[in-house]
Amino acid sequence: MKGMNNSLLEINLSKQEVNDLPLSDEILNDYIGGRGLGVKLFTDRIAPQVDALSPENVMIFTTGPFGGTSIPTNGRFSLVTKSPLTHGIFYSNSGGFFAPVMKKCGFDGILIEGTLKQPGYILINGDEGATIKDASSIWGLDTEQTLRKLKEVEGDKIHVLSIGPAGENLVKIAAIMNDADRAFGRGGVGAVMGSKKLKAIVVKGGSKKTEVNDPELLKKFVKVAMDKIKVVPITRISLPKMGTAALVNVINTLGMLPINNFQKGYDERAAQVSGEAIEKQILQKDEGCFACPIRCGRMTKAGDMEGKGPEYESVWALGPNLGIYDLITVTQANYLCNKLGIDTISCGGSIACGMELQEKGLLKDNDLKFGNAAILKELVKKIAEKEGIGAELSEGSAYLAKKYGTPDSAIHVKGLELPAYDPRGAVGHALGYATSTRGGCHLTGYLASLEIFAAPKKIDRFTIAGKPDLLALKQNQKATEDSLVICAFAGWALGLDYYARLLRAITGIEYDVMELTKIGERIYTLERLFNLREGIGKEADTLPPRFLNEPLKEGFSKDNVVPLQKMLDQYYYVRGWDENGVPKPDKIKQLGIEFS
């Protein structure tokens, strides 16, 4: 398929073997690239009930046909693996500059299985292919030190995926860092890499160009897309000026900014850690991924530390959700998470759960209480090192709350801690949390975009009519976008009608919105089938009880709970799944899925 190299780098760490894995046009037509391609290859290859931290787990990094072109925000790529936190299929997405270079080296992705005997790293060196190298001198270093050291050895012009001490120590909420400041953040994917004793993947060089069927047409369509990004206020002003933390004040005003482990939805002190506060107090400059005109990244200086971020989810997770409103402390904790390789959302979610347990008198740790900013950085370090209370927090909130006898205190879905939107304030978004194939994730269908930000159109956030239908559509379409691959934030301005045209210009194949949506449905359904095989089904399509039974008491989302069951029944029906959430045989056949 034009736009792709039709080739993947296949690496078996146990056997120290490196191969080219050819990709057929058939698989690319059916799954495109990115998440879809990863999900297909992963589900074909992995055996049932494999332990996520065993050599049998597979990690697949993939880019898509948009990668390396002039399409805005195309620098992102996907990772598919099995999560040690959710025990289900996990897809993650990261930006930066790694993916375009990987593609220039001739590979649409990297498939990794097995385990090294000694710590190592993979070097993909331009057109020369890949080698596995010794990493004993960088094992134990944080991600910034690792990047610096690798630059000394491999030269300045490299891009690096690496794990920090958290990944090495198999912390279940460990991330993989991308050039030390972007991340494959969620689901404990850093622990999977750590279990393989793989410290880093380095790319450099490469001379392959992405082949485009009609460069002139692509140029025309890219211009139209760029124009749209420049007229939509969120992509033109809000994200470039304030980054994603622009959302803090918006969400707080709607009464759905989770405070103290989702016990409240509003706190006026949230303004102290808002996008405006970041811009005024700590912002050094903005920063963007490859080919991105939006540039939502923030380079900041907080006290005596400098770094990237915090993003909206991070500033909330390490701030208001812990009752902490000190911007410098929150930002420094965020830097530490990046250095040590920890998912900020799950880190905050686990600590918040611990604080609630302490508040309830179940966990005896006098320092672990809401609002205690003084302990935050130390806690992050303890999590990475699995030291003291950090050892328990490092397992994630579901484990922690269960251990102390109150599973309801863990704010998670399928083991993954929820992000920064209280579901009681947007019922379609709530259904998205409950049904996401990767667990408590806001991006899988992201109805918040419509329910909260009216992007591209406003829908009532409390009405359930039509929400299951719309969510299923959006989940399918997001799976396609993740397969093309393009940044979710471009979606504030663009949509599948744009992407279908761009893909047509690249491949020469006549795609339309519905065909792309069907590809997304194929991907989503395959993810569901995998999870069902692993024992994750209807009983896991739920929300923490407080969202179903306890309304918020103040703010613009008060008095509302999530009418989940009614929406869930409709959702299964809309998807062509039976009443137990199992895709019906005719649906599987219609989508052309083969999986057992």
Partner: protein, 204 residues
């Protein structure tokens, strides 16, 4: 079946808007949404400007059922649109300026700044027998796969949206662009600025 009040309120608001703005006659046009894997659509002979809760019918997306007996005559087009596109809501209206231009042009180019930025162009199709579900149900969804609306020559517009308000915005936006184009054509004077010439949307 009586639909939720929240759903009725949206139908009522959109229906009134269409009639008051002269985009439908007292009895023409139809509107629907996709909800819970079914269609909720205006009943046959229901007046868009004066809807009652019993004027809304729930019916299957794919097959004939008792709801189809009393649903709008153009149910077949709505069904076809839902089955073949990403529509969550559909409006059919007899918008006069779009219809007028459809009788003299092959597509309506948006020459005003708003229409140019949002819609680029309004496709027109010919259907053997325009008023009636059969032929339109075959041709209309093909276009709505890639465009938010389509004008059936000499008949009216079909617009899809994520919600009824969204589809309404497309209907009124298309009609506004057509109106402006129509007025400038009447003057027979050259345009001082033609937005449609500033970018090539021929392949869009």
């Amino acid at each position: 079946m009586v639909v939720d009040k929240s759903i009725f309120d949206i139908f009522d608001m959109v229906g009134k808007h269409l009639v008051r703005q002269g985009l439908n006659t007292s009895h023409s046009g139809n509107i629907s949404i996709r909800s819970g894997g079914k269609i909720i659509i205006k009943r046959r002979t229901g007046m868009l400007g004066n809807l009652k809760p019993e004027d809304l019918v729930e019916t299957s997306l794919e097959e004939e059922d008792s709801g189809s007996l009393i649903a709008s005559t153009e149910l077949g087009v709505h069904r076809a649109i839902y089955l073949q596109t990403d529509a969550m809501a559909v409006i059919h209206a007899h918008v006069p300026y779009c219809v007028a231009l459809s009788l003299i042009e092959d597509e309506i180019t948006c020459i005003d700044a708003e229409g140019f930025a949002l819609y680029k162009k309004i496709p027109i199709i010919d259907v053997e027998i325009p008023a009636g579900a059969y032929y339109t149900s075959i041709e209309v969804p093909k276009v709505l796969k890639n465009y938010p609306f389509v004008v059936v020559r000499g008949h009216g517009i079909f617009a899809k949206g994520m919600t009824l308000e969204d589809a309404l915005q497309y209907v009124t936006g298309a009609e506004q662009s057509a109106h402006i184009r129509y007025l400038t054509l009447l003057t027979e004077k050259p345009l001082k600025r033609d937005f449609s010439k500033e970018k090539d949307f021929s392949s869009w």
